[in-house]
Amino acid sequence: MTDTLRSLSTRFLDARLVGVLIVALLATMPFVVDAYTLSSLSEVLAMGLLAVSVAVMAGNAGLPSLGQVAPYAVGMYTTVVLIRSGMTVGPVLLLASAGAAALFCLVLGFAVIRTRGVVFLMLTLAIGELTYQVSQRWTDVTGGTDGSGRYDATQAFWGTEPMVKPDSIYWYCLAVAAIVVLIVARLVSSTPGKLIRGIRDNEARMRADGHRVGHYLLALYIGAGVVAGIGGSLMASSQRMVFPSDSNFNISALVLMAVVIGGAASLNGAIVGLGLVMMLRDWSNTAVAEHSPLVLGVLFIVVVYLLPGGFAGAASRIGLRQRKEAT
């Protein structure tokens, strides 16, 4: 037990250092890369929060969600609706998106957190996919498959200029993402965070010890949804035009693969993994254009067979969890 705690604390310290290095590296980007790459990187940061959301669920509770795009879409469209109605101040957009995502997850959470294993996968998948269907059909808000159309730029703060240049948008995304990841890292290492990992490792025992497992998991689901919702808000602010396909199952799957590559328990790993996956996606979109799904499909298969190490963090424990449930 003490060994576990010690390895956890060293891992956290390492993670902090790695996190600082990642942020430092990302902060140099506006001076290094061109505008197009910078706007792609802004998207990576927005989707990086989606990946963090998945990683928090999978790594800490052992619940790999296939549907975190749902709160992500809620955050994204909350921001779009607010900007269209004239509210363009960043903090308001972020808080409103986070709140909408939290409400969404509160309502669904009661059903979601009752399930485990394959039912959890299917239920979250269904939630993600149905949200996508709603976003395709609720044309008043989403514009349907034609997309939202161009809307106004976000202001980083009250009284500041609207962000129209790729570099100012990038700074905004980087600042928000860094703050959110920092808060998540603190929460994960807090006492409730440890209790949630306890639930992952031995749920029956945690129940027997008198812990309210349902409450913790509901809080986790809502918290992960808030992170995804903020990611969606960043996406909406950075693209200034969104489509339902920005939050479909393909995105879920890409993000999940990124988390798997990065090692599900690590927040940094999730973002780095996502960066790699997005680079590959963009590369295949330009290099082999229409055959991009083929490249990604092969990558999925290769990752699953050849990178069980990527699973090492959480997925081996997910496997453990499932075996326990089976008995």
């Binding site: 009752r114 394959v118 990752v303």
Partner: protein, 291 residues
């Protein structure tokens, strides 16, 4: 009654669609319940069957029968192949299966688009089936009625096989206790491969038979997979009877819901699933207590 009359065609259409979904979802729920495989490429098998039907039908009855047989065989081969592909992942949980089968679905979906183009394809049916048929005061597409009969017969045969035959007993035993089945001298790997092949065959059959109702396309593949997953959740993992009832309900929501409240149709399915999960006591849905 006059109020209802206008909706009867939708209800009949919903039954046809529900039975179509049942054919797909029964395979999916068997694969889940027995082989413990989360197959996200199940919708692609459906599309594969549909494209095969599109390619082989030429307006003759022989062509139609040939197409349905070919679709079934292709689906069964796909399912059998899948059992080999997932074997190395046996200890790695459902997430690995989900990623693998999603990758397979991406590749197969893309290859189908390369071969057949991205537009929606409809098979050429014998002219007898394309004529409207008068039934109970309303006109229906003849094919819908034939489909309901055939899918109904299939459901009965499936039910008899599972509840009455020796193979069915073995499969049901696998759901309850895999180790016990192995101890009694049945190779569980063979049963698993068989179940996946049957599941794939059912999806291919549904794709070929259902192509005139729901033309094959990438979108159809995703929608069918999605609705089948909902059916499996609603019906209870591995429960073919549950899947039957859930499939008919989803079929009604899909067609009658669209007719009655087009804006609300996607939410209705969503709501139905959430309600089912909330009112049901959790245990039967959890892995330990497969219904």
């Amino acid at each position: 009654m006059e109020f209802l009359d206008g909706y009867i065609p939708h209800i009949i259409g919903g039954i046809a669609y529900g039975l179509l979904l049942f054919t797909v979802a029964s395979g999916l729920t068997l694969a889940f319940g027995v082989a413990d495989v989360l197959n996200l490429s199940h919708g692609s098998i459906f599309a594969l069957g549909g494209y095969i039907a599109y390619a082989l039908t030429d307006g003759t009855w022989t062509g139609l029968i040939l197409a349905v047989l070919a679709g079934t065989v292709a689906g069964a081969l796909f399912g059998g192949g899948l059992s080999i592909a997932v074997a190395p992942l046996a200890k790695r949980g459902h997430l690995a299966q989900a990623l693998l089968t999603f990758g397979i679905a991406m590749i197969v979906g893309h290859l189908l688009v390369i071969v057949f183009g991205s537009g929606e394809k409809r098979p050429t049916l014998p002219t007898e089936l394309t004529k409207p048929v008068l039934f109970g005061g309303n006109y229906y597409a003849g094919y819908h009625l034939l489909f309901i009969v055939i899918a109904g017969i299939l459901a009965v045969i499936g039910w008899l096989v599972i509840t009455r035959s020796k193979a069915g007993a073995r499969v049901r035993a696998m759901v309850d206790d895999r180790q016990m089945v192995a101890t009694l001298g049945t190779n569980p790997k063979l049963v698993l491969a068989g179940v996946l092949a049957v599941a794939g065959g059912l999806a291919g059959l549904a794709g070929a038979l259902g192509a005139p109702i729901l033309g094959p396309s990438q979108g159809a593949a995703n929608m069918v997979l999605m609705q089948s997953l909902i059916i499996v959740v609603l019906g209870g993992l591995g429960s073919v009877g549950g899947a039957f009832i859930a499939a008919l309900a989803v079929g009604q929501v899909h067609t009658l819901g669209v007719a009655l409240a087009p804006q609300w149709a996607p939410y209705l399915l969503f709501g139905a699933m959430a309600v089912a999960l909330l009112i049901r006591k959790p245990p039967p849905l959890l892995l330990g207590g497969r219904a």
